[in-house]
């Protein structure tokens, strides 16, 4: 073993000590957070699978980044660990062993070059600068240095001068990397691992949707999150895990529309605020678009939201809760949970809602309907159709949940189509009529947990009076609330979306469909159906059965883009540069489709609101009805083509 190799091993040891001390200092800050139930043993046991399968599944969407990370991280860890193990005389004296060490460092060097090539000469907008821009230099210096030392050792000291240069390089790079552990890019390594172990939603690694918001204890002394210390400690770990890759900001519809929200910046502001006397000055990524001025100061017990704090309220209310950021995040951070927790404090404790968001919540409190319309008028859209009432029947195979869209003229057409189809297929169904209250989705996303919980309990009490095997709904927001969020309040139902239900009916031959003459259609996935509930196949299967030529948009399936209608964004109405539905409609037009198929009242309203020449908007139920009506006389199909 050469003396330089021994020095390299000691350098790695020193790096480990520095890194360990910094990590411990950072981890102590996490203790400011509230307690949470974490199954540490299960989490530790699941860590390799969560990292290698779940994280890699996300990272691998960008193959260049995946290879870059495998080489850089794998080479760095392997090279360092092997060099350290060189202190064992049996290994350290074997020249072949140092060949292997050199190979590992060569891999790390290649990874370091890939990191650099991605950022130089022009840094993509989504990547952060500052410490992040120095990362490739440090990586390359450490890896190249380690490589030279190991190569020299493998040759028995034949390259001694090079080894000295290498050692110096490795020392500069290595200590530089270790020093980045608590604030720089390297933080994601240890915080990310800790986040995977103590993840607040362990179910999402078990293939479950795990997208329901956690119920809030309304008797708690403080409702929602005002300061970093109000987050549970594992949420704080999550913010620290962020590697600022910016995938969230490219996916965020509010960011694209120029509203003052950038999920990456938000998470960085939250992570920065954990420290006492924190400022947001170190951030070097893209800002909030049209950022509203804030003081940018905080601390573990200082408020997070407000013009005198870290985050402007407009940032909070720009979110459509579409979960695109969560879906894209390779570090499995739960941005939407954080936003809703912050909103809960604003709404429940301060009553600090956007001006136009307050009246719908007021109406919900006293009329169970955000528009303040009579509950009995919900079925007005069905004038002329026979609509069986649960109150009259007592039981039915399928309970049809109409949702808020029923009050709207445009969506009433969709529901009429759905009801006509149910009648044609001979489905035994009934509606609640005037007994149906709002499902509470809007209240919950706007942070009004008290109203949501009351509506959930009232609806569960109503549903308990009737016998039915399934709930059918055309509204993915109601579907998500009824299927996933009512469970915490004692309401467990089998809830099916109309796209899946119609697909079943057509597959079973209960609805004979004719071909729609190969019209070109593109399907817009509703966030609350695709991302929240993983249902992306049934609507596509159904469209294919109708003989339509299906085209996919630039963003589709679980990675689809929001229409802008979720999370109370239409009532919060935060000003931006563009409208989200216009952007989405642009993507639809780019496919060359004549029809955008939708499956949600919000999407239908938002996309129908797009002006100018654009594809037609048609709900899946309307398309199926057209196909069913085309079945006897195939000639009618040509009108669509």
């Amino acid at each position: 073993m050469t003396d330089t190799a021994l020095a390299l091993a000691l350098l790695v040891l020193a790096m480990a000590v520095v890194a360990g001390a910094l990590a411990a200092r950072r981890a102590r800050l996490w203790r400011a957070g509230r307690a949470a139930r974490v199954d540490w043993l299960d989490g530790l046991a699941a860590l390799p699978k969560r990292y290698l399968v779940d994280v890699h599944h996300v990272v691998g969407r960008d193959p260049y980044a995946a290879r870059m990370h495998a080489l850089a991280a794998g080479g760095l860890l392997a090279g360092s660990a092997l060099a350290l193990a060189g202190l064992v005389p049996l290994l350290g004296n074997a020249r072949l062993y140092w060949w292997i060490v050199a190979l590992a460092f060569a891999a790390a060097l290649a990874g370091g070059f890939m990191v650099g090539r991605r950022r130089l000469p022009v840094k993509p907008a989504r990547l952060s600068g500052g410490r992040f821009q120095r990362l490739p230099l440090l990586l390359a210096a450490y890896a190249a240095g380690g490589f030279l030392v190991a190569l020299d050792a493998s040759l028995g000291g034949a390259l001694r001068p090079f080894a000295f240069v290498g050692l110096a390089l490795a020392a500069v790079g290595g200590i530089g990397l270790a020093r980045q552990l608590d604030r720089g890019p390297m933080r994601h390594a240890f915080a990310g691992a800790a986040h995977l172990v103590a993840h607040p939603r362990p179910d999402r690694f078990e293939g479950k949707p795990a997208t329901a918001l956690a119920p809030l204890d309304l008797d708690a002394p403080r409702l929602g999150v005002a300061t970093p210390a109000d987050f549970t400690f594992n949420r704080l770990i999550g913010f620290d895990a962020c590697i600022q890759c910016g995938r969230c900001e490219t996916a965020c519809p509010a960011f694209a529309a120029g509203q003052p929200l950038n999920p990456k910046r938000l998470i960085q502001d939250l992570a920065a605020a954990i420290q006492p006397n924190a400022t947001n000055a170190a951030y070097a990524g893209s800002p909030y678009p049209n950022a509203r001025p804030v003081a940018g100061i905080g601390g573990p017990d200082k408020p997070l939201v407000g013009t005198g704090a870290m985050i402007h309220p407009d940032t909070l209310w720009s979110c459509t809760t579409c979960r695109a950021c969560v879906e894209e995040c390779p570090m499995m951070i739960e941005h939407v949970d954080a936003i809703v927790d912050l909103r809960r404090f604003q709404t429940l404790e301060l009553g600090a809602l956007p001006v136009k968001a307050a009246p719908p919540l007021m109406e919900l409190r006293y009329a169970d309907e955000p528009g303040g319309r009579p509950l009995g008028a919900r079925t007005d859209f069905a004038a002329g159709l026979t609509l069986p009432l649960m109150a009259a029947k007592g039981e039915a195979d399928v309970l049809l949940w109409l949702g808020e869209g029923a009050y709207e003229l445009r969506y009433g057409r969709t529901l009429r189509a759905l009801i006509t189809l149910l009648q044609k297929a001979g489905v035994d169904f009934a509606v609640l009529g005037a007994e149906e209250r709002d499902c509470g989705d809007l209240a919950r996303r706007l942070g009004d947990e008290a109203t949501f919980q009351r509506l959930a309990r009232d609806n569960i009490a109503t549903l308990a009076r009737y016998r039915f095997s399934r709930i059918l709904t055309a509204d993915p927001h109601a579907l998500h609330a009824l299927r996933n969020e009512y469970r915490a309040f004692g309401g467990a139902y089998e809830v099916v979306h109309h796209s899946a239900f119609l697909d079943e009916l057509v597959a079973a031959g209960r609805l004979p469909v004719g071909a729609l003459g190969g019209a070109r259609v593109t399907y817009h996935d509703p966030c609350y159906l695709g991302r929240y509930n993983g249902e992306v196949d049934a609507p596509r299967r159904l469209l294919d059965r109708l003989g339509l030529e299906r085209l996919e948009m630039e963003r589709s399936g679980r990675r689809s883009m929001c229409c802008g209608g979720g999370g109370g964004a239409p009532v919060s109405d935060i000003e931006g540069e563009r409208r989200i539905p216009d952007i989405r409609m642009g993507q639809a037009s780019a496919t060359g489709a004549a029809i955008v198929a939708v499956a949600c009242p919000q999407c239908s309203a938002m996309l129908e609101g797009v002006t100018g020449a654009r594809p037609d908007v048609a709900d899946i139920a309307e398309l199926v009805l057209m196909a069913v009506e085309a079945a006897p006389a195939a000639a009618r199909a040509e009108t669509l083509a």
């Binding site: 309304l218 409702l223 429940l348 009553g351 007021m362 409190r365 006293y366 009329a367 303040g372 319309r373």
Partner: protein, 258 residues
């Protein structure tokens, strides 16, 4: 300075469920803003059998609410007058009109008479006057006009819907707010013997004269009826004006014809 806001048992206009009256929540908002800017004690007052969702006013910026428990058929006026006299309030705010079936908007006037206070109606904004013990009231008049009045405290002020929107509801505020229950005064009202029915909008009657006539004639009759009528006299001598008014009143049967 002590401010009281009077709250009445309202009902939601559509659902018919008990609910606070929106204009009274606006009054709470005006008072809470005044307290924040200029400092004062603020209390809500309700006289009635139960407080129900009026508790929610505590979530709209009211720090505490006094509930004067009276019987369902009791007149709230004596209870309120006694409590207001005892509380020695400088400023008493009320909504323009409540939302119950018999609410006529007269209670503030009756209260002002009982307490011997001046009353200013339809306030849209409040500010302290330059000399202590006075209040600037911005009064909302029809068609968006505003009139600024300077009044000496104590005063009773009713609030107009044109006042700034009520503060959004904060659940924790309602939880924090203090509700105090006190016995009110029994004041049975003489039974009015009125029958109570839900309101039903009725179709407009087509003017009889045009019934059965052509569509154009019916339209003409309907629009003419809606546009009023009468005669316009510009700057008449007083005697002629008085004669005209009397003749008109006699014509519609309000005063007996001589």
């Amino acid at each position: 300075m002590r401010i009281a806001v009077l709250l009445s048992a309202g009902r939601h206009a559509v659902s018919g469920r008990p609910a606070p009256v929106p204009v009274e929540l606006q009054a709470v908002g005006l008072a809470a803003d005044f307290v924040e800017r200029h400092g004062a004690d603020l209390t809500g007052l309700h006289a009635g059998p139960d407080v129900g969702p009026l508790r929610d006013a505590l979530g709209h910026g009211l720090p505490n609410l006094v509930h004067l428990v009276t019987g369902a058929d009791d007149d709230p006026l004596p209870s309120l007058a006694a409590a207001l006299r005892e509380g020695a309030f400088d400023l008493i705010l009320a909504g323009r009109v409540a939302q119950g079936g018999e609410d006529s908007g007269l209670l503030p006037y009756a209260l002002a008479r009982a307490l011997g206070l001046p009353i200013v109606s339809d306030a849209a904004a409040l500010a302290p006057g330059e000399t202590p013990g006075t209040l600037n009231v911005e009064q909302a008049l029809p068609r968006g006009a505003r009139r600024r009045l300077l009044v000496r405290l104590p005063v009773l002020v009713t609030v107009h819907p044109a006042a700034p929107a009520a503060r959004p509801f904060a659940f924790a505020g309602a939880r924090r707010g203090i509700l105090e229950t006190r016995p009110g005064l029994a004041a049975p009202r003489a039974s009015t013997g009125l029958e109570e029915r839900p309101y039903r909008p009725r179709p407009k009657l087509i003017a009889k004269a045009a019934a059965g006539a052509s569509a154009a004639e019916r339209l003409k009759a309907a629009t003419e009826a809606a546009s009023g009528g009468g005669r316009l006299l510009v700057d008449p001598p007083p005697e002629e004006a008085a004669r005209e008014i009397l003749a008109y009143l006699a014509g519609i049967g309000v005063v007996a014809k001589r």
